[in-house]
């Protein structure tokens, strides 16, 4: 199974209880990965409010995952 690195920030980091993890997963897309994580950690943010970055590039949520990818789910931003 492909191994994926996931980084968590802000509310997602607090809910996941960690800032980074590696996991083996058979999910087909970023969206499916989020549902897997949501079930495991009880993440409260609905996927419709997230963006996803894979290897530091914004991608569609339907993007298939490759072995070695780093995935970040990005909650609504509030910089500045």
């Amino acid at each position: 199974m492909p191994e994926i690195t996931i980084k968590y920030f802000a509310a997602l980091r607090e809910q996941a209880g960690c800032s980074e993890e590696r996991r083996q997963t058979a999910v087909a897309s970023a969206a499916e990965l989020y549902r897997e994580l949501q079930a495991e950690y009880g993440l409260s943010l609905d996927i419709q409010h997230l963006k996803v970055a894979i290897n530091n590039q914004y991608c569609p949520l339907t993007q298939p995952l490759q072995n070695g990818d780093t995935v970040v789910f990005i909650p609504p931003v509030a910089g500045g």
């Binding site: 931003v77 509030a78 910089g79 500045g80």
Partner: protein, 157 residues
């Protein structure tokens, strides 16, 4: 040049990059932590950044500004960590031959920084529990809340 600071932003080195004998105008924007937001008393702010992407996206924004306006230089910075009231959260400076371009480029960069950088803030309130701005709204009232990562909803400045 765009920099992330875990300590208070020092504007001296940032301003030094803007110096130019050809520049007749400097516009500087500073975003300060203020003591209220949407009617609640704020005591402190905590900023967290996905720094690698924030820096990539910030450099894109500065390049867009240089492309769109005749400016001499543009420099920015964003703070992370726990900030007290009055501290500088974000800093953008632009030098240009003429002031119209300096104002426009600075304002554009600020709008885009707030809209696009993967940076989040947690507001620590006087009278209720701290919360991540925007995120809690999404979690608790998704049906009535349609900002889709908007720049203004819950934004500070």
């Amino acid at each position: 040049m765009f920099k992330m600071f875990a300590e208070p932003i020092q504007d001296g080195p940032l301003r030094a990059r803007l110096q130019s004998a050809r520049a007749g105008a400097l516009v500087v924007f500073e975003g300060w932590v203020r003591n209220h937001n949407e009617g609640f008393a704020v005591e402190a702010l905590e900023y967290e950044a996905f720094a690698e992407m924030a820096l990539l996206e910030a450099e894109k924004i500065l390049a867009e500004a240089r492309e769109r306006w005749a400016i001499e230089a543009i420099v920015g910075a964003h703070r992370t960590g726990l900030l007290q009231i009055g501290e500088i959260a974000v800093w953008v400076g632009v030098s240009a031959a003429h002031r119209g371009e300096a104002f426009a480029a600075c304002q554009y960069a600020m709008d885009e920084i707030k809209r696009r950088l993967p940076i989040w803030k947690k507001e620590h309130y006087r009278d209720r529990p701290a919360e991540w701005v925007n995120c809690q709204h999404c979690a608790t009232a998704p049906a009535h809340h349609t900002h889709h990562h908007s720049a203004t909803d819950g934004a500070r400045v």
